[in-house]
């Protein structure tokens, strides 16, 4: 098997097992995307990691981690105005942050093209909600292509680029978690670095680009017209009128594919009818059909494997705008059609309205229970949905033997703070300091985990950067309950600053703890503005403390996150006078540091041990709760050395000083100094 870099930069066509996120990077390179921007968020960070894995002198595109998704979108927009094909990618909720700029894009002539890659997260595998971003597409008149597999990611990204450049409009490629991370054999095309002319081509005559009051209407009208052209293209009815001066990729595409007519071919397992984006799987079933898309389509194919009767399937690749004629033809050929749609009833509503307008008699079955609005459409979920709709379709599944009760009752194992994490010491210290009625406002990052037992520090959470605004509100008319807020250092720059400025400006009354670990830890250690490096090398450092002082925060205390006494003293001090104050609790991310250490070939640090003076207070185990501590059958405490990184942050928590570094002699491969 080849190395990922060799695959991504291969000049020859080839095939390789790739996850969706990597196939996307290969597609970016084949499509010659010039500018890529992002702010990290699951399920998309591996896109950035793959790009950054390419040696910088060989990277065919400019790539940056922007400070947030809105800025990422704006940078990509600006580059597109100069004629560069651009791409911004981020997670589902990233679009909320980008929204103010994003919703304008459709009004603009995006000369270079701009594809927004969204990592939606049905099932909320790693997000604070499972929002359905197709609504945003509708709101902003933006087409959406939705691939089901890494292979389709590859093709549809390139189609999205062609569409965007030809139509000079934004196009969304909507991925979901298990499309991003699905690994399969992907066939890729050839690539040779083209001759480039990077002249900045911005021409305001291609606009106008200033929407104000009445000038908005021609822009809106143009956006709506473009959307109808795209609909027609997706229906394979009429070729799209390309904008003057564009490369004509769409027309070429249509010529290549030929315009096939809709035919009811005799039963075949494979697709018999393919427009550039949508396909019908004809199982010769005049009664039952299913309209679906994306991952649910693959789940459907898996589930139908054992079914004697298989419904026909219309799989939409373009989910916005709805290819109406394609859908109508499918409806006309079936008596009952189930809309198998993950998350909201986005297509269902449109398809039902369409059927009404056309006077169709087909029975359209949409979502029948609230459960069908929720969760990822895995094969198990799809089987459940189909059974509720057509009870006779799927074979009855075999009996699963039961096990005795005592073998089943194990709780889930949620993620937890890593051994040596500075966040843990902060939460342990804060837990001891908080009074019953105090309110702790959490924010998003690894430190969100502080809300879980045993710390239970964190009472309310909306989204990245909300903590200062929310804490300010909790502080109004409130002289009795202390309010503290948390924020990570990447989030500080991402969306935290306005809340902090507001706290200073409006003289709010709470204390903020900045959990400074020098990185964007939760999403895989991307650089942020205080770190001094960016995707291309060293850059200006923007220290959190200086920013706070510059913003006029008068009380800023910096404490090592490993020093519980000092943290508690700083908290006492902060609440001794009214007003807004900040404590910076600082310690580098130990997961990152331990990995770097290992990579540099340095010896691991000596782990700690629990010695004979242990009186079984169990603070290390149950309150500090570093996962390295384990309980023995006889009630003693021992240290799991596969986990302990020798950070010693636990030693201060033992009331009888029973935690000590294990004598080094027992393992010459370790060291006790850093």
């Amino acid at each position: 098997m080849k190395k990922l870099n060799d695959v991504l930069l291969d000049h020859e066509p080839g095939s390789e097992i790739m996850m969706g996120n990597w196939a996307l990077v290969r597609a970016m390179i084949e499509a010659d995307v010039r500018v890529v921007t992002s702010y990290p968020g699951s399920p998309t960070p591996e896109i950035g990691a793959a790009i950054l894995g390419l040696p910088s002198e060989k990277r065919p595109m400019y790539f940056e981690w922007s400070v947030n998704e809105k800025v990422a979108t704006e940078v990509a927009f600006g580059a597109s105005l100069n004629g560069h094909l651009s791409c911004a990618f981020f997670k589902s909720v990233g679009l909320n942050v980008a929204a103010d700029s994003f919703v304008q894009l459709g009004h603009m002539e995006l000369v270079g093209g701009l594809v927004i890659v969204l990592g939606d997260d049905p099932g909320a595998n790693s997000s604070q909600n499972e929002q359905d971003n197709r609504h945003f597409a509708r709101l902003s008149y933006t087409p959406v292509l939705e691939p089901a597999s890494p292979t389709e990611v590859m093709h549809m990204f390139k189609q999205a680029c062609g569409l965007s450049r030809d139509m000079r409009m934004p196009v969304i490629l909507r991925l979901t978690t298990h499309v991003c991370h699905h690994k399969e054999l992907v066939h890729y095309g050839s690539w040779s670095p083209p001759e480039r002319d990077d002249t900045p081509r911005f021409d305001k005559k291609a606009g106008p680009y200033i929407p104000v009051a009445a000038t908005v209407f021609p822009l809106k009208q143009r956006a709506l017209k473009k959307l109808e052209q795209v609909r027609a293209w997706a229906d394979d009815k009429a070729p799209v009128q390309s904008s003057p001066g564009s490369g004509g990729t769409l027309r070429d595409d249509l010529k290549k594919k030929g315009s096939q007519d809709w035919v009811d071919k005799p039963s075949q397992p494979e697709a018999v009818f393919e427009t550039p984006l949508n396909r019908v799987v004809d199982n010769g079933n005049c009664e039952r059909g299913v309209i679906t898309m994306g991952l649910p389509y693959l789940s459907l194919i898996d589930v139908l494997a054992d079914a004697e009767e298989k419904p026909d399937i219309l799989k939409l690749g373009m989910v916005h705008p709805l290819p109406r004629e394609t859908v109508v033809r499918f409806l006309e050929h079936h008596s009952e059609v189930k809309i198998l749609e993950e998350l909201d009833d986005f297509l269902e509503q449109q398809i039902k309205a369409l059927a009404y307008d056309r006077g169709l008699k087909t029975r359209i079955i949409g979502k029948e229970t609230l459960e069908e609005w929720m969760g990822e459409y895995t094969p198990d979920k799809v089987a459940e949905v189909l059974r509720a709709c057509w009870g006779d379709l799927l074979p009855v599944s075999g009996e699963i033997p039961q096990v005795e009760e005592h073998l089943t009752a194990r709780g889930p194992r949620p993620p937890q703070l890593c051994p040596g994490c500075g966040h843990r010491t902060v939460f342990h210290a804060v837990r001891g300091w908080l009074k019953e009625n105090d309110i702790a406002v959490a924010d998003i990052g690894c430190h969100t985990l502080g809300f879980l037992p045993p710390y239970e520090v964190g009472d309310a959470l909306l989204c990245m950067g909300h903590s200062n605004g929310t804490a300010a509100g909790l502080g109004l008319f409130n002289n009795t309950r202390r309010v503290i807020a948390f924020i990570g250092d990447s989030t500080f720059f991402h969306a935290g600053l306005p809340g902090i400025v507001n706290a200073v400006f409006n003289k709010h009354n709470h204390t903020l703890i900045v959990m400074e670990n020098g990185t964007t830890a939760m999403t895989g250690h991307q650089d942020h503005a205080a770190g001094g490096t960016n995707t291309r090398g060293p850059t200006v450092e923007i220290p959190v403390q200086q920013v706070l002082e510059g913003l006029g925060v008068t009380q800023v205390t910096r404490v090592s996150a490993y020093q519980e006494d000092k943290l508690r003293a700083a908290l006492d001090e902060s609440f001794s006078t009214p007003g807004f104050s900040v404590i910076i609790a600082s310690h580098p991310c130990m997961l990152k540091k331990t990995r770097e250490r290992r990579r540099q070939g340095k010896k691991p640090l000596v782990p700690v041990q629990v010695n004979e003076s242990c009186e079984r207070h169990y603070i290390c185990l149950s309150e500090f709760a570093c996962p390295s501590y384990q309980i023995a059958d006889d009630g003693g405490v021992w240290v799991q050395e596969d986990l302990c990184i020798g950070d010693r942050s636990c030693m201060q928590t033992c009331p009888v000083n029973a935690i000590t570094p294990r004598p080094k002699e027992t393992n010459p491969k370790e060291t006790d100094n850093d």
């Binding site: 073998l407 194992r413 890593c418 149950s622 996962p627 384990q630």
Partner: protein, 195 residues
Amino acid sequence: MTDKFDVYMIGVGGQGIGLLSEALARAVWASGQDVRGVDTHGLAQRGGTVVSQLRVGADAHTPLIRAHSAELVIAMERNEALRGVLSHAKPGGTLLWYDAVWQPLGVRIRSEVPLKRESIAQACEQLGVTERRVFVEELMDARMQNTAILATIAHGGLMPNVSRENLRDALSDLLGGATLANNLSLFDGLSGPGD
């Protein structure tokens, strides 16, 4: 008959289960069979339950394995072995598990009793699943537990049509230097002569 063989891997974030699934995927691929899969990414890797799914055969389309339908469940930790066998093992399938213990919070805060090794065997028996436990004394590095599992697969021929050489080559593909040498000697020691 549908042509598929599902391997459901489960462990705790930090155990390096990604390496295991990558090595298996490469070995299956080298054996000439269709393969697809998916790993857990993101926050769960921080000490939570992590899952990797690998699907072999032309009739697997999603990377997601259905409940109670994996021919092979591989677990890297005792508590997760129970979780995995209960949710995904197919009756008649196999549980291959490495007996490492990373106590979950419930045990550490003493609201749950520690899980006994025998409980895994009991669960397997009641589910009609074959149990294979792996444990190696004095491993140099916890991440070599993955190699012990790969060697057991090779030794027992637990993956249809995947040879010892396929697995050994995959390991060589992924590791380098002294790490590779250490892992290969463990692999060779446990997997026995080629079949």
